[in-house]
């Protein structure tokens, strides 16, 4: 077996042709996701068995053509040409086409036929086409095209054996792949090439001679045909400026010869496709009115379509915002129960504290995102698979176009109001690289649910109650959300005008036929996204949680004659349990206060506490003392930590953001009372928290990217450290300036 060569099959096809379904059906559960350097698209790989031979199946990104305009689109061409680093050239290309839209789908196939690798056409959705009265003579089509055509129904797993058989027949009847990368191998003669006009072919042959033989013929064609395309950019970089001039001359000559670029390609290919399919397709005389026609009359209707869309979005939002909450609470309760259980069994000391307060907390912080991610992806998978996603993008496009994005950015942005992590993962539906990047970079500006406890605490403690208008708390809360809703589109616009400036990408959106979503596909997408998050972002989140834990834990000792803080606190805790057991409530309360005071002392002298003091000059203009500064620092990995940190520093004991959220009267919680009592160290008469300080802190939290998970996911989705760092820096600067402005203005007016 070891001597047997590994065979490779590459799968290509237009979007919405059932390519993913076919890939899953052929490769089963064993898949892995990979990506190539410098591109954001992912390619999936799986294994399939055809005729006793194991094939590696590569799922290339869905595309309408192999005319690359970006590095992302170049991947498919490079893989098939065998030019992708670390990837052997495929033995066979499987081109999946939609039987209901044969001509347009064959466009991509005609391009694939020129890449020098044998092609098998998988004719999918023959049942849907038949329902519309379209009949295809498969055998004749196969003869005319010169390649095997296999009718299949990928979703019902029909025709797959015949497809496997065709794949292995085509791949194995040929000599094993030669080591040479030359594309002028014998195999090209076996398949039908679109006959381009003679002037075009001779111009290509001549240009190829001028450029040198190591540029594959297909790329020479792309160089001429794709005005401003990626091939042009890459070859000019590789071979020098002279290429630009040569190409220009060729294009001018072709225009004079009646083959203007780029029209010559579409005319020639579609002309040939017409010839090939003539006599193979039977269509009804009268177009059948399909379900899609009827449904679209409602769903893309100005009024009804919009109302249904809004209702759907409300449902999605409600689901990630509220349905996920009980599950998230369950995860966090389970984590606490586990910590309590283990604390009783493990010896006290720094190691146990690291395990429980550092690592277990960190794992909890990772897992707690899963419910939201899974729920959002269930919705996205259903909406996409049934064909609605394109309609949603259609309805929202104008709105999003005003900030330089397209309709496809709407759902990721909306989801980010619940949580930026699933929102950023959801940007995968956006094909345009720059649009996707802009959406990723501004998504964390939306006020996510982790910011809510901070708003509730500060509004409850300092902006409500006697002396405040009844509508003020609601207004301030609304204002906090409005900051994100206004700034995110503005920032997107700014990015699209500067860093991510590009030609406005073409917004050609295909509205696929409606169909019932496949439960298998939906489940798979949910699990894939959840697993990808755990695997790639999890470790980073965990690490940052442990670092902050350590900065708050060390140094532990206060002097040579005193045991370390944690030992003293553990001893007091035992006393406290003792007192409680004996029913001495007053003494127990006093003990508890002592514990809180000692914990506060410990944390204030910790490294993070020292850092808080060191940065006090920087946060003072925001109206903060060093304790607030320290709490803000501690919440950089995860902003919800701020409640717990404030609880510790203000000696209010352990505080949970859920408690604040669920408290009937926030102003009465121990933390809120302590914060109201807080005074400046250097001016004990002056309270720390004024309205301006509370507002400045809220604005800081609204704008700052205090979320290691978000940064980890940005890193994962952009495959580069540049963008998470950029996001972190711009949002921190924005948060600082925003908080500064709010405090200074508020302070000026005496608040």
């Amino acid at each position: 077996m070891g001597s047997e060569q590994k065979r490779i099959a590459a799968l290509i096809g237009n979007p919405n042709t059932g390519k993913t379904t076919l890939f899953n059906a052929l490769s089963g559960l064993r898949q892995r996701v990979g990506n190539y350097p410098g591109v954001t698209v992912e390619t999936k790989k799986g294994k399939m068995c055809c005729g006793g031979q194991t094939f590696e199946l590569i799922d290339l990104p869905g595309t309408y053509s192999l005319s690359p305009r970006s590095p992302d689109e170049m991947v498919a061409v490079d893989v098939i040409l065998g030019r992708q680093q670390g990837e052997a050239r495929p033995d066979v290309v499987v081109s999946i086409v939609d039987a209901g839209n044969l001509e347009r789908n064959l466009y991509l196939t005609t391009q694939a036929l020129e890449l020098g690798v044998p092609v098998v056409v998988a004719l999918n959705m023959i049942d849907v086409a038949a329902a519309q009265g379209v009949r295809i003579d498969v055998q004749r089509l196969s003869q005319q095209l010169g390649v095997p055509v296999v009718p299949i129904q990928a979703n019902k797993k029909k025709g797959l054996d015949a497809l496997r058989e065709a794949i292995s027949r085509v791949a194995l009847s040929l000599p094993a792949r030669s080591a040479s990368k030359d594309d002028t191998c014998l195999r090209c003669g076996l398949v039908g090439k679109t006959p381009f006009p003679e002037p075009f072919e001779s111009a290509i042959a001549q240009l190829r001679q001028e450029l040198g033989e190591n540029v594959p013929e297909y790329l020479v064609r792309r160089l001429v045909l794709d005005v401003g395309g990626w091939t042009e950019q890459r070859l000019i970089e590789q071979l020098g400026e002279r290429v630009r001039l040569q190409v220009q001359q060729v294009r001018e000559r072709l225009a004079q010869a009646g083959c203007p670029v780029p029209a010559v390609e579409a005319r020639t290919r579609y002309g040939w496709i017409r010839e090939v399919t003539a006599g193979c397709i039977q269509r009804p005389d009268q177009r059948v009115v399909t379900w899609t026609d009827r449904i679209d009359r409602v769903l893309t209707h100005k009024v009804w379509g919009t109302l249904i869309f809004l209702a759907l979005m409300f449902l999605v939002f409600q689901a990630i915002f509220t349905w996920a909450r009980p599950i998230m609470k369950g995860i966090s309760d389970g984590k606490d129960a586990l910590a309590d259980l283990l604390r009783g069994r493990l010896p006290p000391g720094p190691f146990t504290d690291l395990l429980l307060d550092g690592m277990l907390e960190g794992v909890g912080a990772v897992v707690v995102f899963l419910p939201q991610i899974l729920i959002l992806f269930a919705f996205i998978a259903v909406l996409e698979d049934c064909g609605y996603m394109a309609r949603a993008a259609f309805l929202m496009d104008k709105l999003m176009a005003r900030c330089g994005l397209s309709g496809k950015s709407f759902i990721p942005m909306l989801s980010s109001i619940a949580c930026a992590v699933p929102g950023i993962l959801a940007t995968r539906v956006i094909e345009q690289r720059r649009d996707r990047l802009a959406t990723i970079l501004v998504a964390p500006l939306m006020s996510c649910s982790a910011r809510l406890p901070v708003y509730i605490l500060l509004i409850g403690a300092f902006l409500s109650g006697p002396g405040f208008a009844w509508w003020l708390p609601g207004l301030v809360m609304f204002a906090m959300y409005a900051i994100g809703l206004i700034l995110a589109p503005l920032m997107a616009l700014l990015l699209k005008r500067t860093l991510l400036r590009s030609e406005t990408p073409v917004f050609v959106l295909e509205m696929p036929l409606y169909k019932a979503p496949s439960p298998r596909l939906v489940l798979r997408r949910m699990l894939d996204s959840g697993w990808a998050f755990l695997r790639r972002a999890g470790t980073l989140i965990l690490a940052s949680m442990v670092v902050v834990w350590a900065l708050l834990y060390f140094p532990r000792g206060s002097g040579p004659e005193q045991p370390p803080y944690d030992v003293r606190i553990a001893a007091m805790q035992e006393d406290l349990d003792d007192l409680k057991a004996k029913g001495k409530d007053d003494a127990a309360e006093e003990k508890e206060q002592q514990i809180n005071a000692l914990t506060a002392e410990w944390k204030r002298q910790s490294y993070l506490g020292r850092m808080g003091k060191a940065i006090e000059p920087a946060v003072r203009p925001l109206g903060w003392d060093w304790k607030i500064g320290m709490a803000a620092l501690a919440s950089f990995p995860a902003r919800e930590v701020v409640i717990g940190t404030l609880g510790i520093i203000y000696s209010a004991g352990k505080q949970d953001s859920d408690e604040i959220r669920d408290a009937a009267n926030v102003a009465d919680t121990p933390l809120a009372r302590r914060m109201k009592e807080a005074r400046w160290d250097d001016d004990p008469a002056r309270p720390v928290f004024t309205i301006s300080t509370a507002l400045s802190l809220m604005v800081f939290f609204a704008l700052c990217c205090q979320c290691a998970s978000t940064l980890a996911v940005i890193r994962r989705e952009t495959h580069s450290w540049r963008w998470p760092i950029f996001t972190f820096v711009y949002m921190t600067v924005l948060a600082y300036l925003g908080a500064l402005a709010v405090y200074q203005v508020g302070h000026f007016f005496g608040g």
């Binding site: 305009r69 209901g100 794709d226 780029p262 893309t300 176009a401 917004f507």
Partner: protein, 75 residues
């Protein structure tokens, strides 16, 4: 000769020409938008943009700015 963005839902026509020779035109042509093809506007999005239309066996959507480059003669 009107352009595609001037058509109302329900109106049909035949594509006469596309303006320009850049990447946009190439993309449109790849999707099947070129001379001689029949086209029918189906709907407009809530804010009047983009436009949904039928072309051959597919339903596509284009923004007005792009649709303006597709010249159509009404049938």
């Amino acid at each position: 000769m009107p352009s595609l963005d001037q058509l109302r839902p329900g109106q049909r026509g035949r594509i006469d020409a596309l303006t320009g020779n850049d990447g946009l035109v190439q993309r449109l042509m790849e999707m099947g938008l070129f001379e001689g093809e029949e086209i029918e506007v189906i709907a407009l999005a809530p804010l009047g943009d983009p436009i949904e239309f039928r072309l051959g066996d597919s339903r596509l959507s284009l923004r007005r700015g792009e649709a303006a480059r597709v010249h159509v003669s009404l049938s």
